[in-house]
Amino acid sequence: MATFILDDATGVGSDDLDSAGAFVDLAIIANDDGIGLDDPVGGMQRVTYNRTINGPPQVRLDTLVNTAFTPDYGNGPQNVDIIVIAGLSGFTLDDGTSFANNGTALAPASSGLAGSSLNSTENCLVIYDTQQTICVARDGTDGDIDLPISNPVVLYHEFSHAFRIVNNTLLALTAECDPSSPEENAAIVDENDLRTDIANRQGVTPELRDPGIHCGKVDEDCSSCCIIATVVSKSLASPQVQFLRSVRDHFVRSTEVGHAFFKQFFRDYYWFSPQVCTIMARNPSIPGLLLEGYINPLLDFWKVMIERSQQSMSNADLGAAFVRLHPDRAQAESRRDALHRTVSYWLNHGANDSEVPAELIMLLRERAWPSAHMQWALVAPVRIYYGLLTLYLDGTNEDAIGREFNRALQIWAPEIPISDVWASLSAEQVATELEFCESALLQSAGNKKRFHERLRHRFHDITSVGVVLNGLNGALGGVR
């Protein structure tokens, strides 16, 4: 006996357990036709493995699956099986710890090892969330926590702990995450074996985790499918994606309010983005339509906004910055045509474009466009850009383009979705955040006034917001 996947159990239904997902993760670890499952007995499926590959992950898996472990924790040798419990949303341990976005390996109840008092059985329980969106520390970056961890890698990490639990060789485990404890360091070293193995299969350079840092965070951006990356180059390393990441990390997420904005933005974005990627995979013409009809205009809009946030720009400056984006008139005309289709058929909820599958239009209507964050950050900017490009191609001069740009920003900028996080900030933080919003985004007196009104209306009973806004009113007559 050795390793099982839990398929059903008293107190939960088979629908609650992601046993199919667990087997897929096992198959990815093995990458070997020799992996298999017996029929369920008593709610559990025994894993079988007739190994034909000699890589470290395969050898480790072979050991876990084909060894009868009989560790002696001090009460004589005892049989210990490994039971994989996957999914199970809402699962918590007796100490209240939730396993959303994490995994663990619990030692047998009588073993006396770390976590054993939280286990009600004499088996080693490997528990992990198959809907996780975790980021971990990337090796070689001095602690940047931006490396995704896939489900097979989470499972393999927990198998590393399980291996030492069933051999009674668990290393020292402490609560500190930086530096990681010896036990977590060893699990991350093992985890990197699988990362390397998978990268080698795909012919790409492995992206490894820093074994010295066990800290992690939950971040939807670390996983799943990004529409923009899929369209531009199928890579998160493309210049376009790098630009957006740079905007996110150095411009938006550098503040509490910006961070909260992006948290909700990504939550909304990944409500539809993976399905869009699936539809694109079946419709290879869509990425071409999206590139010039949506993504490049969106990126160009945000490039101008970044430039505007860094310096004071007159109407003429703003118009010139827009015109500089279009050195090739023929390409600009082609982009306007592509934008016309996008704005008419995709963003306006109007008549269907025969080039675009109805299921995609439906998905965007139901999941993307109702989001205030999507409307503000991804839809309105493209509409503004389209209007400006049309003016430019009609022969409008830079000054007039800039004036129109500023007029559009006057309507758009102060309507940025306001996060609840404002209510939890101190007055000093509110003042700092407001100052950043005003200098980076709002800039004009009218924009500031409108944004102050919205903040005051939303947080009329929050002390810190009131203190700061009243202070601005008192000192500057209502508009700073």
């Binding site: 809402g90 939730s98 995994g103 059985t121 609840d420 009973d461």
Partner: protein, 172 residues
């Protein structure tokens, strides 16, 4: 004369609202700082405990009582601070059910208990706080202290209770 001593009830918590949402329950917790100095607190749920006998749900914004176990990642709490004499709000979300390993199953059997939180009659939220920010432990080893880092940091807990008049129903 300087008078910045804190008292255990300097941070007051109350549950402003509790609403069912899609597959989760959302709460808004209001905090009030009665002290003359800023107070620092944990702003995310660190432990969810449910007592099916009393139908009491405890949401703990504290690492006290949590064990050190192996895991894919370690995640520190979200920390915030509140100015003296100020009010603030935090929004919390928890799954609408709690699943635990069963302690009453026959020996050798792996079984679970599932509790739907729509049945909750009382909700308790406890918020760990201190009069200084959280700081990382830099001493090489604290062998006799098995607590999680944030549990070592906290000085007090603000506690809020709300009794449900009727079972919450999902919004249409």
């Amino acid at each position: 004369m300087r008078n910045d001593d804190i008292k255990p009830d300097d941070l007051i918590a109350s549950i402003k609202s509790m609403e069912p949402a899609e597959k989760q329950i959302e709460l808004v917790v209001r905090l009030s700082n009665k002290a003359t100095r800023a107070l620092h607190y944990i702003a995310d749920v660190r432990a969810t405990r449910y007592d099916p006998n009393t139908k009491t749900l405890m949401l703990s914004l504290s690492d006290e009582g949590r064990q050190v176990i192996p895991g894919a990642i370690s995640k520190l709490p979200v920390f915030r601070y509140i100015d003296p004499g100020s009010e603030a709000e935090i929004r919390l979300g928890v799954p609408d059910r709690v699943i635990k390993l069963s302690r009453t199953a026959p020996p050798g059997e792996l079984a679970f208990e599932t509790h739907q939180l729509s049945d909750v009659q009382e909700v308790i939220v406890e918020v760990a706080w201190a009069d200084v920010p959280f700081y990382k432990e830099t001493r090489p080893c604290i062998k006799d202290d098995a607590r999680l880092p944030a549990a070592r940091w906290e000085q007090h807990k603000a506690r809020a209770t709300k009794r449900q008049k009727k079972s919450p129903r999902p919004k249409n």
